[in-house]
Amino acid sequence: MKQQITLSAFNLGIGYRLRGGKEKVIHPNLNLQLYSGQVTCLLGMNGAGKSTLLRTLCRFQPSLSGEIEIMGKPINLFTQSELSLTVGVVLTEKTNAGGITVFELVSLGRHPHTGFFGQLKEEDYKIISASLDAVGITHKSDTYISELSDGERQKVMIAKVLAQECPIIVLDEPTAFLDVTSRIEIMILLRKLAKEQNKSILLSTHDLDLAIQMGDCLWLQSRDNPMKRGVPEDLILDNSLESFFRKDGIVFDRTTGKLSSPLSKIPVGVEGDFNTSYWAGNALTREGYLPSTPSADYTSIKCVSPTEIEIKYANGTVGHACSIEEMLKCLTNRIL
């Protein structure tokens, strides 16, 4: 499907208007484009203004300067009902909806489409059940919201936004309160929706791993620097992520794509079977070693299979380990 710009911002200033005509500027100048069929992840530390940006893009709060265009039309020219048909949101706000069923909540997504009394027509029912299907929660249609897990609630809110039939979906930290599997499930779901229904999906998150793994595009927002955007891998390779996360006691590891502590790194060579060496590398990193290409100057590890690991020490002696645990023991006892 053709990827089109659905939302763009030019020289956008975000922040709050205070009393007496003063302004608290959070970011003075943002230039952004959101594409259809893509999942865009907005990353930033607490206080970087992620929520403020999302709120401004959804017109929940006014911008301080600049322009936002949605589907090529300035956001301020939208009536409220037009906007509710164009941008749908999933928020972190606590709801009061424990006493209605999953179906009833998703049917609230039809509000912009229904009449004065909110009566559902046959077409609305079709769209609601399609939305329930798309997030895989149809079997819980008649369950009360209060009886759902956090992950299921999030799916229901996403189904609501699908029933709203907006081309743009904005989600504020959709994975924040979820366990690991639900996080991945939600991200896979959002990817699927972007690809299959050509939605533009913008979400803020603190899950760096997931953003790198699942995001088509990352927006890196910080207080003092201009917004960086790009495909995750490009941002890793050109050191943008490394400088973005630079902070005392934390480094972004370009090889693994993970944040870790900057201990003194002793190089250890790793080679062999891909799977075993990948996880051997993971264990070595945790222990403060630096997995490297094998060399005669330092200890190297040759992974034959998960149960057969050969350790060549720098002095020429060779040891054998049958698990990663044993390998680590050999290293701490014999290295140097």
Binding site: E93, N96, S146
Partner: protein, 329 residues
């Protein structure tokens, strides 16, 4: 739908009981004859049934529904299941409005009484809204409401202190709260205000449901938050003021009935909840009115002695069981 019909039947039964039973005992057969106009016995009996019991039952029905709906609207608007017109001090505001009108301006007409009650309720509502922005915590917010009520009551006490004895007496009698104050002549005024408020509440069903998700979600669903909030508050103020102006401040019905309605219905969906709350409010008020009649004597208990006996246990029940009640979670 079954539950609505069931409630409707209970409502009719309670209404009939209110006509048949009172401090003066009149045989059921005579009551039926009086209602169908074929009674040829004591004229005083006919007068009691038609001039006193009938308007009183209609008043109880409408006042109960009005207070219950204003409680429901406040609970949804403030996302606080323990909000209600009396706990947030809105009834006391209406009360204060009436006190000022009665004691200082010697006003007796129904419309001015309603208007002054409405003005009092509106002032408290505006102050409450101001605080709802400042105080996010549900319990703290309720305490502010209770404080508003105390403030209004103390102003009333100060007014009473300076007023003449007969005016104070008139006001105190009104303040006991009862459904008998609306005579057949006053009934059309009372009924038209109450019914207007109830119809307005039915028109608010769609935005009320969106508000279950919170104001930001509701705005994203196309609800015009500002005007909706004004309409909800107008409706609440009108209903509380009307009930208070004619029947005096009545406690607990506004707070407890929405819970009865949600628990019997098993849903917070306003499409069913608003009509069921109207029915349940009528039922509870009619029941309370029946219970004010002391058996075997011709005296009547004040209404506010009965409403807490029904309302307070319900509120304690929902608070204790809130972990297992869907709409609390």
């Amino acid at each position: 739908m079954k539950k609505q019909i069931f409630l409707g039947i209970i409502l009719l039964l309670l209404f009939a009981c209110n006509l048949a039973y009172g401090s003066l005992s009149i045989p059921l057969k005579s009551v039926i004859e009086i209602l169908f106009g074929s009674f040829e016995g004591k004229q005083t009996w006919a007068q009691i049934v038609l001039q006193s019991r009938l308007p009183q039952a209609v008043t109880a029905l409408l006042a109960g529904s009005s207070l219950a709906i204003s409680g429901l609207l406040l609970q949804t608007l403030f996302k606080n299941p323990l909000a209600g017109p009396s706990i947030l001090g809105i009834s006391d505001g209406a009360n204060l409005g009436v006190a000022i009108a009665m004691i200082y301006f010697s006003v007796g007409s129904y419309v001015t009484t309603i208007l002054s009650a409405f003005a009092g309720a509106a002032v408290v509502l505006i102050i409450i809204i101001y605080f709802s922005k400042k105080v996010q915590n549900n319990v703290m917010f309720l305490i502010i409401g209770i404080m508003m009520g105390y403030l209004a009551s103390s102003v009333i006490s100060i007014l009473n202190y300076h007023a003449s004895a007969d005016k104070v007496h008139q006001y105190v009698m009104w303040g006991m709260g009862d459904f008998s104050g609306v005579s057949l002549e006053k009934l059309p005024y009372f009924a038209s205000f109450a019914i207007a408020g109830l119809i307005l509440s039915l028109l608010l069903i769609k935005p009320l449901n969106a508000l279950l998700l919170g104001e930001t979600y509701a705005a994203n669903l196309g609800v015009k938050i500002k005007s909706t909030r004004i309409l909800i508050l107008l409706c609440t103020g009108l209903l509380t003021a009307t009930a208070t102006a004619f029947c005096g401040p009545i406690s607990f019905i506004g707070l407890a009935v929405p819970h009865i309605a949600r628990l019997t219905l098993g849903s917070s969906n306003h499409k069913q909840l608003v009509p069921v709350t109207i029915l349940a409010g009528g039922c509870v008020a009619l029941l309370c009115n029946l219970l004010t009649v002391v058996p075997g004597s011709n005296s009547v208990l004040p209404l506010n002695a009965i409403t807490p006996i029904i309302g307070a246990p319900i509120i304690i029940y929902v608070i204790v069981n809130r972990k297992n009640i869907q709409y609390f979670n």
